[in-house]
Amino acid sequence: MKYLIKKIGTLIITLLIISLLSFLAFQVIPGDAALSKLGTGATGEKREELRREMGLDRPVLERYGSWLLDFIRGDMGESYTYSIPVSEMIKEKLPVTLAIAVMAFICMLAVSIPLGLLAGKYSGRLPDKILMVLDQLVMSVPGFFMGILITCLFGLVLHWFTPGGYVSYQEGWGPFLGYLIFPALSIALPKCAMGIKLLRSSVIGELGQDYVRTAYSRGNSQRQVLFGHVLKNSLLPVVTFWALAVADIVASSVILEQVFTIPGLGTLLVQSISNRDHPVVQAVIVLVAGLVVVINFFVDVLYGIIDPRVEVH
């Protein structure tokens, strides 16, 4: 319980600092928001007027406070480029990116746990060596190239999906998820490779532990030792990796959305960066970072549940 309260405290502070940093980052842009909105041709007076209107003449912390309150209430400002509320643009794209990320995460777990266990158990033997070579190879493929390769293989050769044929979730969840499987896979594969490698070395380490010998001495079979004792223990360090991987998965989604031409948060972010549409960039980044922090929080809590020793320190 104490652990949970402490973690919630850290969560709130982290969220506050992240939002503050993101807010400040966009305050130091050369030429302030009023300037970017009006263009360089505007007169000084007009600029001052707009600055007042936008509240840019108030102290920074005060502006941060009101910005944060607005943000929490769902008012994320207005896009410079499209002059529509940022929240509406985001609301539409968020489910897309979220779906990709969740699928990639599930895919990562589903592949790396069994293969990591296998490689660890048979370490040094042929299947392990083949797997390790493949692993290193997969880790060397840039994310977007993985996406292109997967498009080639599943889209152009096997015809399992139509490249570029994204279907919005508003038109049907089945085809929507069916299309997103492929970017999710492209994101997950490199993470799988890393996860397999980590779990493998963790399993090798745990197999040498005394408690494994104890488990055998009580008459457990190899399978019982592996699943009843070793698995849980070897997952502990990997759970930490998974928490970090969440951030990477979301980031990779930014790139893979481009490869698969999917209108998600990532595409929105890249477009807004090109258009210097700062309110949108700011909102997306705060949202994504917030999401990552919250997921990390849940992983931490999960860690506390798996490992009884955590409560102590």
């Binding site: 977007f144 980031a251 890249v270 210097r276 700062h278 960039v281 970072a289």
Partner: protein, 267 residues
Amino acid sequence: MEKGFYRYNMVVGGILAGVMTVFMLVGLFYTPYDPETMDPFLKFAHASLAHPFGCDQFGRDIFSRVLQGSGTTFLVAVGTLAIGAGTGTFLGLATGYFGGWPDEAIMRFNDLIVAFPSILLALISISLLGPGKYNVILALGIVFIPSFARIVRSEVIVHKDMDYVKSARLMGVGHMRILFVHILPNIKGTLFSALAIGFNNAVLSEAGMSYLGIGVQPPDASIGRMMSEGQAYIFTAPWSILFPGVVMILMVLGFGLLSDGCGDRDA
């Protein structure tokens, strides 16, 4: 058996990394053809002796473009490491060795930074700085500082309590000399491994950013941007994307194996 496997990894990785480094260095100064010269007669030309990687949609020699792009990649990666690893190592050495509140503050800040995916951080920086080769170096360099600081710090913490450091201190050796002459050479294995991984991350991040069109800008060549352009012709001219991709994989693979071999062995 395991050890042999890792040594094998390291040898293969070393050779590969060496060859690719030479490739990248050459790309900085020399290309067989002008990478920008378009030749309508060579549009989508297949691979041949004259054009080993074939030609792209404008009839430009892909090999020359990849070579030049590799040069850019190398420049960005080395620049990034110079900023990221340089500053990070210095911070890690200082905070790990002296401890105290600066250490605590920097580590908390580190934890915070982890929440931002590194490419996202780089994207924010780019959106503030604007795209371009040097801004990419600056953005990635800053983004890489925390991870190096963290790695070096944890190594220093282990080493500063070891007997050789204690005895050096007893003999009156100054802090700076202990840090740079005594501790630094002893953590070079870890540092080298981290550098190789950092190199890879820089290469991959630059490629990703350039692919998105917010990294290296023309006229600087970039493999990431080449591939984004080639993606449209994946059926008509698969080589325009395949060869750049393979070169990139070889670069990353070489340094990955090398880092694997010289870092902590996991078995």
